[in-house]
Amino acid sequence: MYDVVIIGAGVSGAASARELSRYQLNVCVVEKEEDVCCGTSKANSAIVHAGFDADSGSLMAKLNVEGNEMMDEMSRELDFHFKRNGSLVVCLQEDEMPNLQALYERGVKNGVKGLRIIGREELAAMEPNISDKAVAALYAPTGGIVCPFGMNIAYAENAAENGVEFRFDTEVLHIERKGSHWLLQTNRGEIETTYVVNAAGVYADKFHNMVSSKKLHITPRRGDYCLLDRSVEGFVTHTIFQLPNKFGKGVLVTPTVHGNTLVGPTAIDIENKEGTNTTQAGIDEVIGKAGNTVKNLPIRQVITSFAGLRAHEDGHEFCIGELEDAKGFVDCAGIESPGLSSAPAIGKMVADIIKGLSNAPENPNFKGTRKGILDPKVLTNEERAALIKENPAYGNIICRCEMVTEGEIIDSIKRPLGAKSLDGVKRRTRAGMGRCQAGFCSPRTIEILARERGVDPSEITKSGGASKIIVGVNKDRI
């Protein structure tokens, strides 16, 4: 019996769990995948929006601006990568200037600080690769970039350190009222709880509709992306959006916190909530549209393409709150862009709601800081030498492209909610994230995972479930 069960270990669920761990509550996060950050939170633009996009007065606008403001402190407390690189909304035609002005005004109304419209000259000085067609831009110095995995994992680890239980590979099948509490049927038995937080991303409508007569509808809106190698780091330094015009929304071009360049997304409404497959048309659209705002995009430096699903609610608004006709069931639904930016504020809002309902006292043992995986690259050569002397695994490079050591990989496996799969290691350490896309390091990472987890290498998967890498031994079927 739990006080709170959170469905979903994405960034909203993890942030909610961490904020709830401030209180004396017995909290459990159930996740159908094998790890945190396996859905929408892992495949998105990895940016922290300034907050001028959402309609003034909306919850989206409020939480975006709040979340953005909280981000510096959160990244320090929880030790994840965040950088305020500033964003630019680029206007490509003189006659669209009124739209840029309107966006500026909305941003001011939403409480976004430091907004400024800049002319071509200043824009070109800030971004030498900006399109020759660009006439002006809305500059938002508070816009930022974040490591979405790092942030999601940091929240989850800190929640776990503060006593939140995580159950992975646990899929909620059915939810029903049982007296004063909720009964959740899962593929791994029943779970009872007083409160439910529905942070199930694209599946949030499914759970909402199990308990409420006021139906919710969420459309998986696919976004295809292309990621460019770090070799072209500095191609752009700000996050560059295209001012939406009569030809559509355009795609963004942005650096990532790790020095890659990301281009995308498309916006394609689909039916399949697991439909994270890219399509040729999607990739072509991304590459085609990227040329609108920047020139000479080094598209040959693409190292991977991927697709993520936005949890688009019909009203395009965050749906956060206790359901009127299902007491103790709290939705955290419709969390699409700017969901990542808003996550710190979303977590706080969810925790405040549960706190209000439960009157739980504060957790005196709450520890709000968490240390991430040690990155030897930030050390001086002397510090690094000392580290290797103490732990030789930090002297053994496993991933050549991203220069990730065995020490970091072992850390990623051994820490709270540690990595179990290749993708788990990749999201925590970047091993396999580089230009060869795990061609060299995957056999070595499999070996380390098997050794540290005490299992046979054939048990190691790419991302849990049936995603095995090794299916047998030589000649076993001849």
Binding site: I397, A438, P443, T461, N474
Partner: protein, 423 residues
């Protein structure tokens, strides 16, 4: 700080041959740095035969071929470090390296030989649409799993790309009990050697579909199927030609990319065609005393040619150490070699008629398949080589031999041109 005359980056076939040759040409203090746990590089996983006919006049497997050179390295008592990653090379030729035992350490070199090899083009770089499940491997990764670790990465296999590693892996997977359903190749010709098509595909009845590519990958967790389609002359899929193959594995053999991240940070000038350094006939880059050889310079078809090229780099590095001043002040001019009309690039990029050996082999690749054509070389506007070739193909390296005396006959030589001329 450690001090060596020559530091060789990479202990694969190129690094081994370069080090041995440098030693035999008089360099005393040589260190080979290898990131893997053994010397030999990628040859260790190339367990098939077919290596060494040129170098040893017998057919060896990859590990045997590597073993011969490792033996030579040991005979010459050349120092090497395993499990050692080079982190950085400074412009002053200070090599920063790291391993478990010594931590981070620096080596001051007088000359550096770049021999880091290459990597495979990944699925991501190919922009293949579809899901991203387990079961997609570069052919080399699968080769390592099967040949060096004894693991099967899959049971039913589709291969994209007919590069030699892909062809070799079609046979290896078949022998170890997997079913290879098809090899699809984007281009209208194979990127691999003809004999590999015979002994790796034809021997086992594996179909090769030219002008085909993968257009979809199915399966959320593990590959469940692959759709391939025919491509038109623009290399774009032709709608309506899709064929679906149920399988659990996709192997990719779609080209190799020289690993030049260290070279770039060192300020070495690169060729956009080969993705390798631009070198003169000493295989020296624009950075004085920094040489390059093997697949980091340009992707080779045969390891025998790698060894030959690396031996030349080693010899020139030794000469540079022993007589740097003469090496530099040899007089003469670096004459550019232009690759045009079918020839994509040449190695070397320049040649100095006074400094060069009596004969120099210039290697290059062609951009398309040409039948009954001529490989021609012009000095200024005069054709000096016009060699008939029944067929040339991008998968195989071509060569022409330039003679010092021939070049000496052109005192106002400003341009050497290599081209393919149709009959």
């Amino acid at each position: 700080m450690l001090n060596y005359d020559i530091v060789v980056i990479g202990g694969g076939p190129a690094g081994l041959a370069a080090a041995v040759s440098a030693k035999r040409n008089g360099a005393e203090s040589i260190l080979v740095l290898e990131r893997d746990k053994e010397l030999g590089g990628i040859l260790n996983q190339c367990i098939h035969n077919g290596f060494g006919l040129h170098t040893f006049q017998e057919e060896l497997t990859g590990p045997e071929y590597a073993g011969r050179f490792i033996g030579q390295l040991q005979e010459e008592q050349i120092a090497y470090k395993l499990n050692t990653m080079v982190m950085d090379i400074g412009a002053n030729k200070v090599v920063t390296a790291m391993n478990r035992e010594e931590g981070m350490f620096e080596i001051q070199a007088k000359a550096i030989i770049l021999a880091m090899g290459c990597r495979e083009r990944s699925r991501g770089a190919l922009n293949i649409p579809g899901y991203r499940p387990a079961g997609i491997y570069s052919a080399g990764t699968a080769q390592r799993l099967v040949n060096m670790e004894g693991y099967m990465p899959g049971r039913e296999v589709v291969i994209l790309g007919s590069g030699d590693i892909g062809l070799i892996m079609a046979r290896r997977m078949t022998l170890e009990g997997a079913k290879v359903k098809v090899v699809a190749e984007l281009l209208p010709y194979s990127g691999g050697l003809k004999r590999n098509i015979v002994q790796c595909l034809d021997d086992f009845g594996i179909p090769l579909k030219l002008s085909h590519t993968v257009v979809d990958i199915d399966g959320k967790e593990r590959v469940e199927g692959i759709t391939i389609a025919q491509v038109g002359p623009d290399r774009r899929p032709i709608p309506g030609t899709e064929e679906h193959y149920a399988c659990d594995t996709l192997l990719l053999s779609c080209g190799l990319i020289p690993e030049n991240e260290l070279s770039r940070s060192l300020g070495v000038e690169m060729s956009p065609v080969t993705s390798g350094p631009l070198v003169n006939e000493c295989l020296e880059t624009n950075v004085e005393g920094v040489f390059a050889c093997g697949n980091v310079l340009h992707v080779h078809d045969l390891v025998d040619f790698v060894s030959e090229e690396a031996a030349s780099a080693g010899r020139h590095a030794a000469e540079y150490i022993l007589n740097g001043a003469r090496h530099l002040a040899s007089g003469g001019r670096d004459i550019p070699i232009q690759a045009v009309e079918g020839a994509r690039y040449t190695v070397p990029r320049t040649i100095n008629p006074e400094r060069m050996d009596e004969k120099h082999t210039v290697r290059f690749r062609v951009g398309d398949v040409y039948k009954n054509c001529y490989v021609s070389v012009y000095l200024n506007n005069e054709r000096i080589i016009h060699r008939k070739r029944p067929v040339v193909a991008p998968g195989e390296m071509e060569e022409v031999v330039l003679k010092k005396e021939q070049l000496a006959g052109f005192p106002d030589l400003s341009q050497i041109t290599v081209k393919i001329e149709e009959a």
